[in-house]
Symmetry: C2
Subunit: 262 residues, 2 copies
């Protein structure tokens, strides 16, 4: 399916919408595209390629996982610095004025109408499209398993991060704990639950908005981006993560009843 457009720029693309598997893969920080309407936010080209603008490697990994699990993929097509669609419209991080050590000049002093414009042109169509994919599956008796795929920077505020694979949950930890266990058993990745951050850091908005109301199994994955340095690395990582997701779901006893919709 081609990227769905609102006004003049694409916001969300849905790949393999008819894929038959039970997973639904989401990549909120897939793109470092800055639509012309919003300019470059006063950032250099280097800054617009850095981890502050997107999750490097996450889209390739998400595609690799989606292919292996025969799952649809819903990916954003706008930089998180213009609007971070994994944040509510009233969250400071939705249109952040600062990310790690970087000031974001174009996000300073935004007027209400600026915040409104980005919300209605980016946040709403992305989540309406994702909600549509979920609702359509629920309507025909399927309960999609929502997996969001992210990457994180190996050095944050000058400090090295040891964890390689973070598995993050929101209200329901069932699937996250099962993924952690499967990854520890099947891979040599340094895997940790709720690392390098957790729901308390306001990073699980998509899970909360799209999965929790329907009682869907859900988890957020975070992979250290130095392990996703090129297409071959992304494929190799998908070869590790996809089987862990399969094993995790298989390990959840009485899965259908526990995950039944509300």
């Amino acid at each position: 399916m081609p990227g769905q457009k609102t006004d003049s720029f694409p916001v969300v693309r849905i790949e393999n919408p008819a894929a038959p598997g039970p997973f639904l893969i989401v990549c909120e920080h897939a793109s470092n595209t800055f639509p012309a309407e919003f300019g470059d936010l006063g950032l250099t080209e280097e800054e617009r390629k850095a981890h502050i603008a997107w999750d490097p490697g996450a889209l390739g990994l998400a595609r690799g996982i989606a292919t292996r699990l025969e799952a649809p993929l819903v990916a954003a097509e706008v930089s998180r610095l213009v609007y971070d669609i994994n944040r509510a419209p009233n969250a400071p991080g939705a249109m952040t004025v600062r990310s790690e050590t970087y000031d974001i000049p174009g996000n300073q002093g935004l007027r209400p109408q600026d915040r409104l414009r980005r919300t209605t042109s980016i946040y709403q169509p992305f989540h309406a499209a994702l909600h549509g994919e979920i609702a359509r599956r629920l309507a025909v008796g399927e309960s999609p398993i929502l997996v969001t795929v992210h990457s994180f920077t190996p050095v944050y505020f000058g400090k090295k991060r040891d964890v390689e694979f973070g598995v993050i949950h929101d209200a329901d930890p069932t699937l996250a704990k099962a993924v952690e266990k499967a990854a520890l058993a099947q891979t040599t990745l340094k895997t940790r639950l709720n690392a390098p951050y957790s729901a308390a850091d306001d990073v699980t908005h998509t899970l909360r908005l799209q999965a929790t109301p329907y009682g869907l199994a859900n988890v957020m994955l975070e992979i250290r981006n130095d392990l996703l340095s090129d297409a071959a690395a992304e494929e190799a990582m998908a070869d590790k993560i996809a089987p862990a997701l399969k094993a995790a779901i298989a390990s959840i006893e009485s899965f259908p009843s526990k995950m039944a919709a509300v």
Copy 2:
């Protein structure tokens, strides 16, 4: 704002979208309209006017409350028997085959594509419109208080119901308890928390989908429909309920911080 159309029939209307008050009033069962596409579901005219098809009096009451609170009103324009937009697409009650003592012939043996069509043409546009109203307010720094307005039948399965005003909550009971307390103090209505049914009966989908993810104050109101028998009765009831809602919000200590978005 005129009713928003999808395909050939209206699904949702938004009245007073620019109203300045902090409340957002929702009426999911406002209409007993059966769009031509779905026929009359095999029901008689009398059945299509009964409480199984809609919440009689709820729209008039919701309008009365919205006017008094200077609030926008989001109301459905399709009968709950075609699609009950206060139910998830995989809930049995979304396109119910039976309501109280009535069989719904046109909902027997629905095929997956029938369920899909009703979901995409009614459920999705209604909730996208409501989500839009919420997201736009969040974007400009407002945290709307979500109030859903319903009516219930005084006799159910042959048994008389004594309660007159039911105040129902989902995950967060704060506002519901405050409304119950205010109604008991300010009115003579027989008021009860979580009556004549509760979230355990799967009646709080709208609150769960639209308010909980944003940490918005929210409550579902149920008024016995014999107390809403004509326009004058609806206005008289709005004169009781609207002040109780105002008093309830005022009574919630440190409201802004407790209700701050996630």
